[in-house]
Every structure is written in C-alpha cells, then in structure tokens.
C-alpha cells in the first residue's frame, strides 16, 4: 500500500514538473501559459493555508474556553456545524465535478498492474484525504481537542480527537463514494452528458438560492430574524446526527452538557458510519472497475440528409465551416448550456428583481425593467458562450488539423469560427429579448432597438478578441466536462470575463439610462458611433489574429494532438 501511495505521489509530482518543462514544440508563450495555469492551484493553496490556519487557531481558542459558559459552547456548536456541513457538500460535489466521460483512464491503467483492488480502493480514499477542503479543517479538528486538553480536560480532549479522526475518515469515504458513484453514472457517454448538463445547470442555479430564501425587504426584521436563525443552529435535531458533520458538533455539545456519556454514543455512531461508508465505498468502487466506459455505439443510426444553409454575405466554404463547427459545438455540454442557461438565468433574475433588486437601487432612479433585462441577457449570453469563444482554436482537437489540411485560408478559418459563434449567440440574444419583452413591457421603442445593436457591437469585438486569446493562451479543453477541464486558460477566462462586461456596459448604459436628459437622437447616434468603433477595433484585431495564427500554428496543432 505504501509502495503504491509513493508511486502515485511520484507520478503526480512528475506530471506537475513535466508540464512546466519546455518541449521541442513549445515556444516561450506556451511555457509562460503553462506556468500561469499552474499558478492558479498554487494561488488556491496560498489562499487556503491562512483559512486553515485561522480555523485551527479558532479551534484552539474555542477548545480552551469550551467549558467556560453557554455562549462559548453555542459558538462552538454553530461554527462546527456550518464548517463541517460546507466540507461535506464540497466532498460530495468536488469528485463529481472532476469526473466525466474519460476521467477513469488512470484508474484503468492501474487496474492492469499487479495491484489488488483493495489497495486501489485505499489509494482512492487516501486521495480523498488530500482534498484541500478536507485538509483545510484538519488543523481545527486537531487544535480544538488540544485547546480542551490545555484547559485541563484530557479525557474530553481524547474523545474529541478520536471523534475528529473518525469525522475525517467519514468525509474521505463520502468523497470516495461520490467519486466512484460519479464514475459509474458517467460510464456511458450519452448518460454522462445528460447528467453533466443537469448538474451544471443545478449547480449554477444553486447560487441564486440564498437571495430567494431571503425575506422580502418589507417583511424584514433583521434582529428578530438573526436571533431565530442562531437559536435554530444551536440545537441539533436528533435525526441529523446520522450526518458525520452533525454528529461531531453533537459530540462537542454533549461533552459540555452531559460530561461524556452521550458523547461516547456519538463516537460509536461515527465508528458505525465509517464501517458502513467503507463497505459502500468498496462495493461501488469494485463495481466501477468491472464496468468499463463505453461510447454510445455507432451502428444502427442511419439518418436523413443533413441540412446545410446557404448563408448570406459569406462564401460557401466559410458557411460550411461555420455550420460544421456550429453542429459540433451545440452537441457538447458547454454548447447546450450556452443555449439553455441564459434564458433560464433571465427568468431567475426577473424573480429576484421582483423580490429584492429594487431595494438596492436609489429610490429616485427609474429603470425600465424590460430593456434592462434584455441588456442583461446579452451579458449572460456571452458569459455562457465564453468557454467556447475564448478557446475557439483549442476546443476542436482533430478538427483544428482539418482546417489546416483542407483548402481554406486562415482568414476563412477565422471567419468560419466567427460565423459559428454568431450562429450560437444570435438565437439566444433573440430569445432573451423576447423573454425580456414578456417579463417587462416597458421602456420606449428606442431603448429596445438598442439591445440587438449592442449585441452586434459586443460580438464584433469579443469574437475576434476571443480568437486572439485562444491563439495566445490555448488550453486543450473538453467541452463535455462540467468541471475545470472544459474551461479556457485561467488568465484568458479572467480577462475574457472582464472584457465581456466592459464591452456590454457602454451600449447597455445608453439603452437603459441614456434616454433621460438627452435629446432622442443623441443616444442612438452615440450607439452608432460605438458600433462603428467596435467594427474598426474588430478589423484591427483580425489582422493581429492572422499574424498570431501564422506564428502559433505549430503550437495549436500540437495542442490539438494532446501534446
């Protein structure tokens, strides 16, 4: 087992080091890009370390004062419940986000080696133990008992330390169950894609839940409300003790209140939970190893003649490329999300608008709801399209080689990409405008006319800007993954998001508030100037993209081949 763990750790280390080393086909930009990509997890660790240290010191302080009064005990209960609940959720979700069709390659390679399945399973649990979420709470789970011991109660400290170790084991096993379960669910491509689509929408919309559950402004009595919530968090219902996180908090509370008898029962529950979770985890892990990943099977799927549009203003070659990529992208998870999510977001934002949004706006400020929602729809459309748009030359794999061996010029390739992205964005922007018109039938006609014009201006610049970022900072991405694997390069993602917001803002501002205090034609004239400027900038950026494509073609092709 130790041999396997050492070999595994060495492999991960070499992979990290090798990813930084310069290869024959890497240029300086690519090496810098790889280092930047590695910096993101390093930054994550640098942020996590002080949080873990803070939690540890907090644990030490709470431990030392745990028996000093009711208030301290309640604080300990609330903090441990909240922190451990958050870690439990993270341990459940993180492995699912990391998995996806094709994610089981490494484990399949290890299965071929003379390593027992039990050892592989243990290795998976150890891997779960090194999850940053879990590592982040270990100092607190060690220093809380240390604080209790320092206050002169070594027995209680021992119980808490044991309880902490069992809780860590439970959480690691939950991570292992989630990882194997996700791998089992994702072993068929079509099912994996459907589940991924549902998950990515569910996780995204979960971010909107807190404002929904917040009370309306007029019903709000902050002090009473907060006091009720605190009271609810202090008492742990019996039925939630089945959860390791709740059980740990329960043991902390029991140690203070009953002096140990109920706490021992809590520890026993954790021991049983560890045993049950281990058996469940082993069963799912072994089943996962027995069933390989499969595609959908290609036979028996004859269909009718595919339909190809003759697009206006572009050559048949560019139209063919645009439509081919359009089909390819819209069949991926990210492509589907780019179509489905923005209108759904808009409905949610409309609901939030009617509940809370008006509270934060100054009372004197009158906003037309419909045009504002529609402008917001533009932002949402491009933000959800950005994983493709900002990485447009690196999401095709072999398709990129095709565009270089077929008789098409680089300009045609670039324009084909822009046609694809326009075909993806235009229906979503149109749907958002229609939806916004249904949700808020206000505002002058000119405010509505601004919306599609702004979308055109934004796309003109963003499409080509994304092409530049994609050539400069390409990242091999799987558009069917729901986790980080489908994202563009972190720096590209950050810059692209900021630029998207900045590009939407001027036109949106003119559309939403530009009609006040100005003659009717002024905002429209300003918008037309903005569009002309956007096309001028786009034209300039197009030339830069062509030069970059020439210089970085080899790197892009190497990336397409996974090198």
């Amino acid at each position: 087992m130790l041999r396997l763990a050492a070999a595994w750790a060495w492999m991960r280390w070499r992979l990290a080091v090798n990813s930084l080393s310069r290869r024959r086909r890497n240029d300086g930009i690519e090496t810098a890009s790889r280092i930047l990509a590695i910096l993101v997890p390093v930054l994550f660790i640098l942020i996590t370390l002080p949080i873990a240290a803070g939690l540890g010191l907090g644990g030490l302080f709470l431990g030392k004062n745990l028996f000093e009064g009711r208030e301290m005990q309640d604080t300990a209960t609330i903090v441990t419940r909240l922190v451990l609940a958050a870690v439990t959720v993270a341990m459940l979700i993180a492995p699912v986000l990391r998995s996806g069709f094709g994610a089981g390659v490494t484990i399949n390679r290890l299965v071929l080696m003379p390593v027992s399945r039990h050892a592989l399973h243990l290795q998976q649990i150890v891997s779960a133990c090194t999850d940053p979420w879990l590592l982040g709470i270990v100092p607190a789970l060690v220093l809380l008992p240390a604080g209790v011991a320092a206050s002169g109660r070594p027995g209680a400290a021992g119980v808490l330390l044991l309880c902490g170790a069992l809780t860590v084991m439970c959480l690691a096993l939950i991570g292992s169950v989630a990882a194997s379960g996700a791998a089992l669910l994702f072993r068929r491509r079509q099912r994996a894609e459907l589940i991924s689509l549902i998950l990515i929408l569910a996780i995204t919309f979960a971010a909107f839940l807190p404002p929904f559950f917040a009370d309306r402004a007029e019903d709000r009595d902050t002090e009473v409300e907060f006091s009720l919530k605190v009271t609810a968090l202090k008492s742990i219902p019996f039925w939630t003790r089945a959860l390791p996180s709740e059980n740990y908090a329960g043991v902390v509370s029991d140690l203070v209140q009953t002096g140990g008898s109920r706490a021992t029962a809590g520890v026993a529950v954790l021991v049983v939970a560890v045993a049950l979770l281990y058996l469940l985890s082993l069963a799912i892990f072994q089943r996962r190893l027995l069933i390989p990943e499969t595609g959908g099977g290609a036979r028996g799927s004859r269909t009718g003649e595919p339909y190809w549009l003759q697009l206006p203003l572009v050559s048949p070659t560019v139209a063919a490329m645009g439509q081919a990529w359009f089909r390819a992208y819209t069949r991926t998870i990210r492509g589907k999300v780019a179509w489905i999510a923005p209108p759904l977001f808009l409905v949610v934002i409309n609901l939030l608008w009617s509940r809370n949004l008006m509270d934060v706006l100054p009372g004197s400020m009158v906003i037309y709801k419909g045009p504002m929602l529609a402008q917001f729809g533009i932002l949402l459309t491009f933000l959800t399209l950005n994983p493709i748009l900002l990485n447009q030359f690196a999401v095709d794999a072999g398709g990129l080689s095709a565009s270089f061996v077929l008789p098409v010029s680089r300009l045609q390739v670039l324009r084909g990409k822009q046609i694809t992205l326009a075909m993806m964005a235009a229906p979503v922007v149109a749907a958002n405008i229609a939806l916004a018109a249904l949700l808020g039938r206000d505002g002058p006609l000119l405010a509505w006319i601004t919306v599609p014009l702004n979308a055109v201006a934004v796309f003109a610049v963003l499409g080509i800007f994304g092409a530049n970022l994609s050539v400069l900072l390409p990242r091999a991405a799987d558009l069917n993954s729901i986790g980080n694997a489908s994202n563009p390069h972190p720096l590209s993602n950050f810059v692209g998001t900021v630029v998207t917001a900045l590009l939407v803002a001027p036109g949106a501002a003119l559309g939403i508030i530009g009609w006040r205090g100005l003659p009717g034609w002024t905002p429209m004239a300003l918008l037309l100037i903005w569009i002309m400027l956007a096309f001028f900038v786009a034209r300039y950026l197009e030339r830069i993209t062509m030069e970059l494509l020439d210089k970085r073609r080899e790197n892009l092709l190497a990336l397409a081949r996974g090198k």
């Binding site: 290609a298 036979r299 799927s301 080689s401 008789p407």
Partner: protein
C-alpha cells in the same frame, strides 16, 4: 478540368519533389536534408523506424508544418507560395485523422465536399458510395466520437478520397483496420493509382507496403537512406530478398537481432 482544377500539368512530371528538405526543432534535426522524388501515378511507400522523421516529413509536405529549409514541389506547385492551389488537389489522412468528433460520419463527408466546392448531388452520390465501400452506412448518422478506431480511420480516408484528389497522403492508414476493410482499401488504392492518382503512404506494415508500393523511400534518423522503385531496391546489389530485409539492412537493425535480456529468461 477535374472538380474545377487545372489538370494541364504533364503526366510525366513528378507528383512530389523535395530538395534538401530540413525540419528542425530547436537543435534537433527531425528531417535532415532529404531529396524525395515521387513519380506521378506511383504508390510511394515511405518507411522508417519509429522517430525516423516520417510524420514530420508528411506534415511538411501537407502544409501542417513549415519546413526549416529546402524546397518542396507538389504537383508542380510550391505549397508555401500557393497553399490553397496545392490543397485543392490533395487529400490527406494525417496522424491525428483531423476529424471533427461531434459531426456524424455523413456530415463529415458533406462538410469536406462543401469546403472543396463540389456540387451537392456529387457529394451525395460519392458519400453514399464511400460509406458503402467502407461499411459505414449503418453508422453514417452517428457522431464520430462514438466510432471505433478502425471506423475513424475509414471515415478519415473517405473524407480524403471524396474530392477525388490527384495526390493522397496517408499516414499509417492500415493501422487498426480489419482484414476485410484493409483488402477493400488496398484494392481501391490500386485502382486509384492505375487511374493516374499518386499515393504517398507511411506504414509500419511492411507486407502491405511491399504488395502495394511501386516505389519506396526509407528514412532513418532524418536522412533518406534509400529511394527508388520497389523492384530495383529489392534486387539492388544482387539482393533477392524481401522488403523487410532491405529495410533492416538500410536502418542498421540487423546487429540487434540476437539481443537478449538475461533477466527475462
């Protein structure tokens, strides 16, 4: 005119000529001054051990990699000066197959046909024939991502053949192909060269290359160590052996034949 292409070039001109072709990666010379001469209408087998420079050469010839030095002439044209004119007359099955995985097999063929500007009816007819020949008719509506390795090879080859190119570059086309399909493809390629088409093929399966090739080039450590007609090369120096013997002789692999790993026995 074939598919709108100019075919006035003399049929005796070579299909591919390179002069001192060099491709370096930093200080490593992957292709080290090779002079290829591929006659028109020939079946040219380009052989070499792993890492010899075969794929790099084919990438330079197909425009995927710019050469570091030397000249290339494809069908009488300079691919660096007139890349589109060359590509219009050439079909390629590269190492990574160059497939858009989320298109169906039929869409892949239609996409290629449209890029080459072939008439819609012709695309439909040729696609149907190619899919039948490659036994892919049942899978025509499936996305390439669901294809097996052999099916991917077949659809990539179909896409290369669809525009009826005058020169075909095939990088390991028989690897992963079943015996039935392999036989069909061999027969197809033979009739293609008989009709004046040229095939430039790399393969590790020497038996197939020996059966098909009219001409052979052997590359070793970036240098061309043999080139000529298959018959001439096999009988050169009074030799009457097989292609395998010629190959091993030219790449200097004979000395390792008796190599033994003591710990393995």
């Amino acid at each position: 005119m074939i598919n709108g292409m100019d075919t006035t070039l003399s049929t005796t001109d070579p299909a591919i000529v390179t002069r001192a072709l060099v491709r370096t990666f930093d200080d490593f010379r992957a292709v080290d001054g090779i002079d290829l001469h591929v006659p028109r209408g020939s079946f040219y087998g380009f052989l070499g051990p792993n890492g010899a420079g075969k794929s790099t050469t084919i990438k330079c010839l197909t425009g995927l990699l710019p050469p570091s030095g030397g000249d290339i002439e494809i069908l009488g044209l300079d691919p660096l000066q007139e890349p589109l004119a060359v590509k219009r007359q050439v079909g390629v099955v590269p190492e990574d197959l160059a497939l858009i995985e989320r298109l169906t097999g039929l869409e892949t063929l239609q996409f290629v046909g449209r890029v080459y500007g072939i008439a819609r009816e012709q695309i439909r007819d040729r696609s149907a024939e190619l899919l039948t020949l490659m036994d892919l008719t049942d899978a025509a509506g499936s996305q390439v991502v669901d294809y097996s390795h052999g099916m991917r090879k077949k659809i990539a080859l179909s896409a290369a053949l669809l525009p009826a190119p005058r020169l075909l570059f095939l990088d390991e086309p028989f690897e992963g192909i079943d015996a039935v399909a392999s036989r069909q493809i061999r027969s197809l390629l033979r009739s293609y060269t008989a009709g004046g088409g040229t095939v430039f093929l790399t393969s590790h399966i020497l038996e197939i290359v020996e059966k098909l090739s009219t001409h052979i080039g052997i590359i070793h450590r970036g240098r061309l160590v043999a080139q000529g007609s298959t018959a001439e090369l096999k009988t050169a120096g009074g030799r009457s052996g097989t292609l395998e013997e010629l190959f091993l002789d030219r790449v200097g692999a004979g000395a390792d034949e008796d190599a033994v790993l003591d710990w393995l026995s």
